[in-house]
């Protein structure tokens, strides 16, 4: 990288993906010392306690739901889908950035992905876990959900309806969850071997050793490993694009005005990546600061992630304008009313809030001074998460609340149990993420090493 910079004027020089001064040993040391240390930092304990309280609240909300039924939620006819589906789509969307970073950027040989891929993938897995809670508990009786969702020979002789996008979604999301876990674990194996070899106690050596499966890093191991990683990346790329496409089919295949739109698949995928990168920034900015990872997660990463957020945010903005255009151009009174109602109806506040975040605020990202201001970017990333949550709220609730026949209209109001479940999943997500930071190397040790000059080998002359 550095040699490319020599001929550039100072202002155009890019920050390298690893700051100078690192070699193989310092990279291993910097990353591996966090999971291996005996100490639990006070800040970690504090945040973990709050996160765990959130997870406890989730447990309580779901326990009460199972006792009483889904009547404790605000879902009513006509708004039969509400917080549960909003939160499901929001969490699944967040997961998409992790797969984009680990798979698509691998295929494009983007070296900056290596420092952030591990924890972005962890974020994916935990986000998908939180997402799965909502549809499963929305069935009301999750212990019976197995035969509604999965095709298996059950005592009633019933089979799922394969012409429904909802059952496609079950296949898409469960495949996505499985492949994400597998990809993440395969990526971890060599690093777990590093942890085994540096472990300070017998117990840690045994546990990390078992988890690493006895990895030795032989030439044959690495060859098969590299082939498998490339194949997994190649498979995850069409998978991640298909997942949010299928999620959008849940809406687009129906006839509700505001849902029945051909632009939904690309618009949903772009929105997913946009919100996912916002969440990666929300996590990466404090993590690099508190764990002193500024030399491995440099301003180059932060800047690049902000650029991806800007690009996908602009696609999302295009999606909003096309929704409005289609409604007008369709000459269909229901479509036109839907758009007017979104903007000026009872939920108009949510539409204009989301427009001011996802269309207006993100224009700030055109400026490098904003993209490299970590505090500003951190606040923006939280706003983007809120904006993308509101987008799903607008799509789902306004379309259902006021559909074709005015006599069937009705308002939707969430209950305290809706909020407890939603904030509870944020607590669960943070709990899992903090455990990951504490016990697993948060940056891929061996991949970062491949960027160093020590790893470079000349071809045979």
């Amino acid at each position: 990288m550095a040699d490319l910079n020599i001929h550039r004027p100072m202002a155009l020089q890019e920050t390298p993906v690893i700051l100078p001064g690192h070699d193989f040993e310092t990279v291993t040391e910097t990353i591996a010392e966090i999971p291996l240390s005996k100490r639990f930092p006070l800040g970690w304990i504090g945040i973990f306690a709050i996160a765990l309280a959130g997870a406890g609240m989730l447990h309580m909300a779901l326990g009460y739901l199972v006792l009483k039924g889904i009547g404790i939620w605000g879902n009513q006819i006509p708004v039969g889908w509400a917080f549960d589906i909003i939160n499901f789509v929001w969490w699944i969307g967040i997961g998409h950035a992790g797969t984009l970073i680990s798979a698509i950027l691998l295929l494009f040989k983007q070296q900056w992905r290596m420092s952030i891929s591990r924890f972005a993938e962890a974020m994916t897995i935990f986000a998908v876990a939180c997402a799965a809670i909502f549809p499963v508990f929305h069935t009301g009786r999750p212990w019976l959900a197995a035969y509604w969702l999965f095709p298996y020979p059950n005592a009633m002789g019933l089979w799922p309806q394969f012409k429904s996008p909802l059952i496609w979604d079950v296949f898409a999301v469960s495949t996505y969850a499985t492949v994400s876990v597998v990809f993440w674990y395969v990526g971890l194996i060599p690093d777990l071997a590093s942890m085994r070899d540096r472990a300070t106690s017998k117990l840690k050596a045994v546990l990390y050793g078992m988890a690493s499966l006895g990895w030795r890093g032989s030439a044959r191991h690495w060859h098969r490993y590299e082939v498998a990683s490339l194949i997994l990346a190649g498979l995850s790329t069409p998978l991640v694009l298909s997942v949010h496409t299928v999620v959008s089919f849940d809406f687009a295949v129906s006839l509700i005005p505001g849902w029945h739109a051909t632009i939904f698949p690309p618009y949903f995928v772009a929105g997913a990546i946009y919100s996912g990168f916002a969440m990666v920034l929300t996590l990466a900015i404090p993590v690099r600061r508190f764990y002193g990872m500024e030399s491995l997660i440099t301003m180059r990463h932060i800047d690049n992630m902000a650029k991806v957020m800007l690009a996908t945010g602009l696609i999302v903005g295009y999606g909003y304008s096309m929704e409005a255009f289609f409604a007008w151009y369709s000459a269909n009174p229901h479509e036109q009313f839907m758009m007017y109602n979104r903007m000026f109806g009872p939920y108009g506040w949510s539409y204009w809030t989301l427009i001011s975040i996802n269309v207006v605020m993100i224009q700030l990202l055109w400026f490098k001074s904003i993209r490299t201001n970590t505090l500003g970017l951190f606040i923006m990333s939280i706003f983007v998460n809120i904006g993308m949550w509101l987008e799903r709220f607008v799509i789902i609730v306004t379309s259902l609340a006021n559909d074709f026949v005015p006599s069937s209209w009705g308002m939707y109001y969430p209950t305290r149990w809706d909020f407890m479940t939603f904030f509870g999943t944020i607590g669960l997500f943070l709990t899992l993420f903090l455990l990951f930071l504490r016990f697993v190397p948060m940056i891929s040790i061996f991949e970062v090493k491949t960027l160093l000059p020590q790893a470079k080998v000349k071809a045979e002359s």
Binding site: Q161, F162, D197, R216, H223, L239
Partner: protein, 181 residues
């Protein structure tokens, strides 16, 4: 064998240590050129040329993954056809029972699921993992193989093994160690 006199413990091979990937690759090229056949290299990072230099064969994994993927696709389609046409036919809006276009998404997802599981499990199994014990771990310095040192091993099965230790010392190794079985 108890009545035979005790000799030196059985050897898995001899191991040489290097400081860089370049030194390891150079040594591996020399070793192979010298006619050794039972050779293995160990490195903290993947080195693309190393497998080609030492083993000269590529893995069968891509073929397995293709087979896995086709199996997944066939499984997905057969499952849906059987459930929707034979076992539990449902008339949905007058569409044909075997409306294959609606079967695409689950078949596609199962193609990816089966391929990915084949890739991951195939890599692990072909690599002989999980394998908690291996003789190379008997060398204390080998714990650096996952950090910043590079190792080359000539195994005792090699017909020219008697010359191995002396040969490795001349390849620029930082150290040469016996690997107990």
């Amino acid at each position: 064998m108890a009545d035979l006199p005790e000799t030196t413990p059985a050897l898995h091979g001899v191991m040489a240590e290097y400081d860089s990937g370049q030194a390891l690759v150079d040594a591996a090229r020399k070793t192979m050129a010298h006619g050794f056949t039972q050779v293995e290299a160990y490195s903290p990072v993947p080195i693309e040329d190393l497998n080609t230099i030492i083993h000269k064969s590529r893995t069968v994994l891509p073929g397995l993954v293709l087979t896995g993927g086709l199996t997944g696709m066939a499984t997905g389609f057969a499952l849906q056809y059987w459930a929707s046409v034979i076992e539990y036919p449902m008339n949905i809006g007058g569409r044909p029972m075997a409306s294959w276009t609606t079967f695409i998404v689950p078949s596609y997802e199962l193609t990816i699921l089966f391929s990915a599981l084949t890739a991951a499990i195939g890599m692990i199994v072909l690599n002989g993992l999980p394998q908690p014990y291996h003789p190379v771990f008997n060398v204390g310095r080998f714990s650096m193989a996952s950090s910043d040192k590079f190792f080359l091993v000539i195994e005792s099965r090699d017909p020219k093994f008697d010359a191995a230790a002396a040969f490795l010392r001349e390849t620029g190794a930082k150290g040469v160690y016996d690997v107990a079985e």
